[in-house]
């Protein structure tokens, strides 16, 4: 067993001092800072935090227990996190994990004797274009092979930059071409042009522009951005009591698009949020970033500091009297559910990430139960694109009902995985071709829309990727996931990983999802590993799926059966006992 390090509260003192006078909404940031001291959160530390922020100890305990990246048992300051989800699995993650385990002498979840290193296998790290990948503390690593493991563990393996392709690059125009840490560079290449333009317009005119642009939310729910901004603007409340939240939680397996912008062009997110703040009449900006994006965190922090120093954030922005807007960057702590908008608010408020019952909706009762716009990072990027190019030009891209561009996350068995910014209307096949085609003989299946999406077979590859086709043909565009599987992939393994993901990430609030994701996982696991399906398993999956889909409280449970049932429907043979069943495949 690991020797618990002696608890040194002296290092904590100055941190607590900075937080004195604040309340529960500072709980997550303080837990992060406190954990950085010794790698975990001993009892004494939690008690001191409770006293400082005036939060009941039971509640602090509940919060620490909820988030995977908070530890109340001895854990090293350096955690090695290796992705075990589909894209990485197909690209050789099992062999990399084996090499790491041999080298460290640790199994997943274990900490070294000397307490200096903890090793974990984790869900999708949002870097699928660099599969297989891992984090060494705050250092990212991609395209790993067993031979790279030494360099990776020593912290000298190079950090990969996002891979961005497609065209025309509108929302990602600057990405990869400018120094993401330089405000001067950003300004030189058109940065803050949209905000300057916005300030020459009345908020009402910007709203009608946004409505005319037909930009739908890129986070999955496809709500029109113009309408959302207008509803929040019209909600009663002073600008000091309204919020603009950028949803940068990006944790759905196969999704990595927002990271590309935040790492390569972080100022553009701040600009878009300021435009939203001006338009809506909201003074508080928040970015909620998933905890596993250390580099995006650094680049966004740097950008916020520089933008503030230059007067792009703060009071009377760009000399406009009364236009106040600032941004607080918040780091998640390992919980996919916190991408759900109301769970995200709860997380910022210092609670367990339990989704709220809707209505009321965020536009009137959002963060701190005040009027709130919450938008996906890509949605926000689209709004500045529209401002810069005008509604007419925007409509020249894409189709009539789906104007503009979309970021697709192409991953899996293709030659050139990456973020593809393309106009709406390309087919799945065209995107796969753009990505260099399938590795292997042929496409066996494509997962569209993410873990919460559906599988399609090779006969449906000519489906155009538009909102109208998505509606007509019953597949989600979702967060733009296109994960490709060739003939060599055992789809049951992929189903198992998706089921494992939902069971791991269900918040546990409502019964159909908390119980259903677990039972779904057990059935899929039995099919894959323990001798194949039993009679009745398909019916059970269908009943569980029905209960989850129709009665769950939030979108997680409502979509947790989608991909799995789509596979069962399309390929009934997956649920038939056969000779390949019963073998033991590599775990986790």
């Amino acid at each position: 067993m690991v020797q618990p390090a002696t608890i040194d509260l002296t290092a904590l003192g100055p941190i607590l001092d900075r937080y004195r006078g604040r309340g529960r909404e500072s709980l997550l940031p303080l837990l992060h800072e406190a954990q950085d001291v010794s790698g975990w959160l001993p009892r004494e530390v939690l008690q001191a935090i409770g006293e400082t922020l005036h939060v009941p100890l039971a509640d602090i305990h509940g919060v620490v227990e909820f988030y995977s990246m908070f530890y109340n048992e001895p854990t090293a300051r350096r955690v090695i996190r290796v992705c075990f989800d589909p894209a990485c699995h197909m690209a050789g993650s099992p062999a990399v994990r084996l090499a790491i385990e041999e080298r460290l002498g640790l199994k997943p979840g274990e900490t070294s004797q000397d307490g200096t290193i903890t090793y974990e296998t984790v869900p999708c790290l949002g870097m699928c274009e660099h599969a297989p990948n891992a984090l060494n503390g705050d250092r990212t690593a991609g395209d790993l092979t067993p031979a790279d493991v030494d360099a990776f563990l020593e912290g000298v393996y190079p950090e990969p930059e996002p891979k961005i392709y497609g065209g025309p690059l509108i929302k990602l125009a600057r990405a990869g071409k400018i120094d993401p840490t330089s405000l001067a560079d950003f300004e030189k290449y058109g940065g803050y042009k949209a905000l300057r333009k916005a300030l020459t317009m009345r908020p009402e005119d910007i709203l009608s522009m946004m409505k005319g642009s037909d930009v739908l939310g890129r986070g999955g729910a496809m709500f029109p951005v113009g309408l959302k901004w207008e509803m929040t603007r019209n909600a009663p409340g002073h600008p000091a009591e309204k919020h603009i939240v950028a949803n940068a939680d990006e944790s759905e397996p196969g999704t990595f698009k927002d990271r590309a912008l935040m790492e390569q062009d972080p100022f553009s997110l701040l600009e878009a949020m300021a435009v939203a703040g001006y338009t809506v009449g909201a003074e508080n900006g928040w970015i909620f970033l998933r905890g596993e994006y250390p580099r995006a965190y650094k680049r966004l922090s740097n950008a916020i500091e520089k933008a503030r120093a230059a007067g792009y954030l703060g009071h009377n922005i760009l000399g406009r009297r009364g236009f106040n807007f600032d941004i607080e960057l918040r780091l998640g702590a390992g919980a996919y559910i916190c991408g759900e908008e109301t769970a995200l608010f709860e997380a910022i408020e210092g609670k367990r990430g339990f989704p709220r019952i809707k209505p009321p909706f965020p536009t009137t009762h959002g963060l701190f139960h005040q009027p709130t716009v919450i938008n996906n990072v890509e949605t926000l990027a689209a709004t500045t694109a529209v401002l810069n190019m005008g509604v007419e030009q925007w409509h020249k891209l894409g189709t009539a009902e789906s104007p503009g561009t979309k970021w697709f996350c192409v991953s899996g068995r293709v030659l050139r995985p990456g973020v593809y910014e393309v106009p709406f209307g390309l087919t799945v096949r065209q995107l796969i071709q753009m990505a260099g085609g399938v590795i292997g003989r042929e496409v066996q299946a494509v997962l569209l829309g993410g873990a919460a999406g559906v599988f399609i077979g090779p006969r449906r590859l000519d489906t155009p990727l538009t909102y109208e086709d998505s509606k007509a043909q019953g597949f989600p565009i979702g967060s733009g996931v296109i994960m490709v599987f060739d003939e060599a992939v055992d789809l049951r393994e992929i189903m198992y990983m998706l089921a494992r993901f939902f069971a791991h990430e269900s918040c546990g609030k409502c019964y159909p999802c908390a119980l259903g994701t677990q039972r779904q996982l057990e059935i899929v696991e039995r099919v894959l590993r323990y001798g194949g399906p039993l009679p009745g398993d398909v019916n059970m999956l269908r009943d569980i799926g029905l209960a989850m889909t129709q009665t769950s409280l939030c979108g997680l449970g409502q979509t947790a059966a989608s991909a799995i049932l789509s596979a069962v429907d399309r390929w009934p043979e997956l649920m038939q006992p056969d000779s390949s069943n019963g073998r033991i495949v590599s775990d986790n």
């Binding site: 039971a58 305990h61 509940g62 227990e65 677990q518 009665t551 409280l553």
Partner: protein, 236 residues
Amino acid sequence: MTNMVTLTIDGLPAIVPAGTTILNAAASIGIEIPVVCYHPHLTANGLCRVCSVDIGRRLQAAACVTTVAEGMVVNTQTKDVVTARRTILEMLNSTIDLSEAPHLQDLLLEYDADTERFDGMERRESPVHDDNPFYLRDYNKCINCWRCVQVCAEDAQYTFALSFDGRGFHTLIGTFEGDGMMDTTCVFCGQCVGVCPTNALKPKRQFLLEQGVDPDDIFRQTRRGGKRRREPVAEN
């Protein structure tokens, strides 16, 4: 005058004040929608979803937390509604020891639940906590209805002794760092025991009586003796 709303429930008209839940609207015309987590005096969180009904949409609506709308057409017993209800109950029964939850036993019967359907699958198990003279906590019987947590917090007592361990399927009611109740902020008001629907929280007297312990002994063991940790009573 309050705004009245007209809707149809199982083919019958109902006229209720705006803001009424579907659950109460149905009750007002004699239609009973099953509930598990709902408690009329506590904040409704829409947890069990057993009260879900068809309102003509892709998603069903949890009747205890959904308010009525003009012209709404509610069906409380469609095929999908019944399937979902039965499946939730079956999954619950395969996870939790419901033997001392009479209301859930009734629902299992009423919905023709197959109580062996998910046999052999993981149950939510934890040791019985016998750490104070007043009540036992047996979370093997706990359905996570949150009632105890709520009465301990803003719904009544503002004591904040209870919260959660883990998440998802593995969520359990818990205390700070798993401390025994004597070491928490608990004031032993007993409200949690009073609202628990499954006997997961049980008065110690009742437990000892069930074990056949002599009433004199029970008196000695459950007498209030100041706030300090007690040796657990031996279990068998």
